[in-house]
């Protein structure tokens, strides 16, 4: 199994009383709540944490994109990935993901990713996402065209990376007379593409397609949903496309906290993880799922199953019970991942080891303990330990 550390770079210094005045930490939260001096401290601290993980032998370090919010301060993950590219030597640098389709000109991102890939000698992983619903408010992109633009932006970028230029691209949303990327990516034919999602069946079907076979990465969700969507990928590959998906195509992303004992882990993580879910991830349904962002079928699904991790008040106990986070002693965490791997067979694991307001010292302790006590036992897991597709997946 490949183990990645994942960072959201939250604005941990947020005055949490904001919640009395504003309905979300996104879109409508005034940016006067952001103090650039504290932002400077936080960015550098967070980059240190990712660099530490690279030194400790994580297979990869991972960043992502969110706009106009306190939950994650990376409107451009290209900036953080660039900062990391010269400070690390072996770890994969994974941008999970970039929302190419939010841009009027996705080629600028294609160029930047190719640059990072060249600078790092082929250590880049490119995640392609649509961006969450709130992004469609913040950047004024039309959610009703999100799926179609996502697919077309992907086609444009892959062609730009692989087809000799100059050529013209004639799409429905993107039109370019001169596509001729300098530089071309280091990895051939192009950097691995991953599809992170909170569980859109359309995205899973798209990622599993035999022409792509992209890694599907399930963002943190209750265990039930993780199982449902990861199994759906495998079922979709089998039933719709007639091939057996490799476990290397399956990934799971989850917050993790390790301490000496279960009790201590719970106690230390509690305030910080609850801030992540109850304050930073505070997003009303209307912002999370703007009209047209989900297909009619997915919208109904989302309503009836309440798959979403936001929109409910969480405690650390509900988070642990639902499997949204993994928290405990090294032994507990190791056993839980090993058991979940046996059932779901993901060969890629993304661990969010800093979350919410988790301070520097606890974050560092968490990263070190995970790297020493948990990671080695997981890195040796292979497809052999996977029990195979057991349960009925999502329809």
């Amino acid at each position: 199994m490949k183990i990645f550390i994942f960072h959201l770079m939250p604005y941990a210094n947020l005055d949490m009383s904001y919640a009395e005045k504003y309905r979300a930490a996104w879109v409508v939260l005034p940016n006067t709540y952001f103090d650039p001096k504290q932002g400077h401290e936080l960015y550098n601290r967070y980059l240190d944490e990712l660099e530490l993980a690279a030194e400790l032998g994580f297979d990869g370090i991972s960043v992502n994109e969110h706009h106009q919010n306190a939950y994650g301060l990376m409107p451009s993950p290209v900036v953080t990935a660039s900062a990391l590219s010269r400070r690390t030597k072996n770890a994969r640098i994974a941008i999970l993901g970039n929302a190419f389709c939010l841009r009027e000109h996705p080629l600028t991102l294609a160029e930047e990713h190719a640059m990072i890939d060249c600078i790092t000698g082929g250590r880049l992983i490119t995640g392609m996402v649509r961006g969450i619903g709130a992004e469609y408010f913040s950047l004024g992109a039309n959610p009703a065209y999100s799926h179609a633009r996502f697919q077309e932006a992907h086609d444009l970028v892959v062609e730009a990376w692989t087809k000799p230029g100059p050529f013209s691209f004639e799409g429905n949303y993107y039109h370019f007379d001169y596509v001729n990327l300098w530089p071309r990516p280091f990895q051939q034919p192009h950097p691995p593409i991953w599809a992170p999602s909170t569980g859109s069946t359309e995205t899973i079907e798209w990622a599993a397609h035999p022409s792509r076979k992209y890694v599907y990465l399930q963002a943190y969700s209750p265990t039930q949903s993780v199982a449902r969507y990861l199994n759906y990928y495998r079922e979709c590959a089998q039933r719709t496309y007639g091939y057996t998906a490799s476990s290397n195509q399956i990934g799971w992303s989850t917050p993790v906290y390790v301490s000496d004992t279960d009790e201590k882990a719970r106690e230390e993580a509690k305030p910080h993880i609850e801030i992540l879910f109850n304050k930073l991830l505070r997003l009303p349904f209307e912002m999370l799922f703007p009209p047209g962002y989900l297909s009619a079928k997915s919208l109904k699904n989302m309503r009836s199953h309440k798959h979403s991790v936001s929109g409910q008040e969480h405690t650390i106990d509900t988070l642990i019970r639902q499997g949204i986070i993994v928290c405990g002693s090294p032994d507990t965490v190791r056993r839980q991942f090993t058991e979940t791997h046996r059932l779901l067979g993901f060969q890629n694991l993304l661990c969010l080891l800093q979350f919410g307001t988790l301070p520097r010292d606890l974050t560092e302790k968490n990263i070190r303990l995970f790297a020493q006590e948990v990671m080695p036992a997981l890195q040796v897991l292979t497809d052999k330990e996977y029990a195979g597709l057991q349960v009925q997946a999502a329809e």
Partner: protein, 274 residues
């Protein structure tokens, strides 16, 4: 303003609207139609139609009321040919042709008003008059608007209705699973056509001079989604346009003040549009 004392004789002439399906170049459109008189095309807004629009029934007393679901709304097909309100305008010129409608009074509310404007700047050959009700379409810079997409459902009802009629209206969408699906479908279609720039075509005001039919503007005076300044700007932009406001009314005059809504339209058509 015509209010509660709506003449009984007029009321007797009102007819329920009947559904039919018409085909516009392969796209099936659900049309409600009822009443006798000159044809009146009602172009609905972002909220769509669900049969609980007493203002439309009131108009059937004097007009042949034709109220289609726009492509992607209600029970009409979605067509990839129509991606924005400009496309929608050309689609409706095809629809007028397909239905062989001439001398039509076009009434548009919200994005339906925007659509009426986009049709009229392109071609008014088949249009006799234009009535813009709480109309989207233009952009008046510096006037704050509330956003019907980002707000909660509770706030949405407050923005749509001045009084508490919104709860009943929302209930009518919850009447059956089918209606609930159409409610979601309408929101998605509204986003498709009006998300960005929100509820407007920033270039539209450059072409308002092309509107050469009598135009009346009707506005709920408690409107916040498209504030009153928009009504004034439209009046200033369209030669000869007149403006009337409806009190105790926000974004949905055809539902909240059906008598005043129908009264304003009828009065205007009887005088200016003759």
């Amino acid at each position: 303003m015509l209010g509660a004392e709506w003449p009984a004789k007029t009321r007797q002439r009102e007819k329920p609207l009947q559904h039919s399906e018409i085909d516009v170049r392969g796209c099936k459109i659900n049309v409600r139609r009822g009443g006798k008189g000159e044809p009146l095309l009602f172009l609905h807004g972002a909220q769509g139609l669900n049969g609980h629009e007493p203002g439309l029934e009131a108009l059937t007393a004097d007009f042949d009321v034709i109220a289609p679901d726009h492509p992607g709304f209600g029970k009409s097909d979605l067509t990839s040919a129509v991606e924005d309100v400009g496309d929608l305008a050309l689609f409706y010129l095809d629809l007028l042709e397909a239905m062989e409608l001439r001398c039509v009074h076009v009434v548009g509310q919200c994005i339906g008003g925007w659509l009426a404007l986009e049709i009229a700047i392109r071609n008014t050959e088949r249009i006799k008059s234009l009535i813009l009700v709480n109309s989207a379409g233009i952009r008046v810079k510096g006037v704050p608007r509330v956003d019907m997409f980002v707000c909660s459902e509770d706030d949405l009802l407050k923005f749509l209705f001045a009084a508490k009629g919104g709860t009943e209206w929302l209930q009518s969408w919850r009447a059956s699973p089918d209606m609930e699906d159409i409610y979601d479908r309408n929101r998605a279609a509204a986003a498709r056509y009006s998300w960005a720039p929100r509820l407007c075509n920033p270039k539209l005001d450059r072409w308002l001079h092309r509107i050469d039919v009598p135009t009346h503007i009707v506005w709920g005076n408690e409107e916040r989604i498209i504030p009153r300044e928009y009504a004034t700007a439209l009046k200033d932009g369209i030669a000869g346009a007149t403006l009337a406001t409806i009190s105790e009314c926000a974004h949905m005059p055809h539902i909240e003040q059906p008598r005043a809504f129908a009264g304003e339209i009828t009065k205007f058509i009887r005088s200016a549009a003759r």
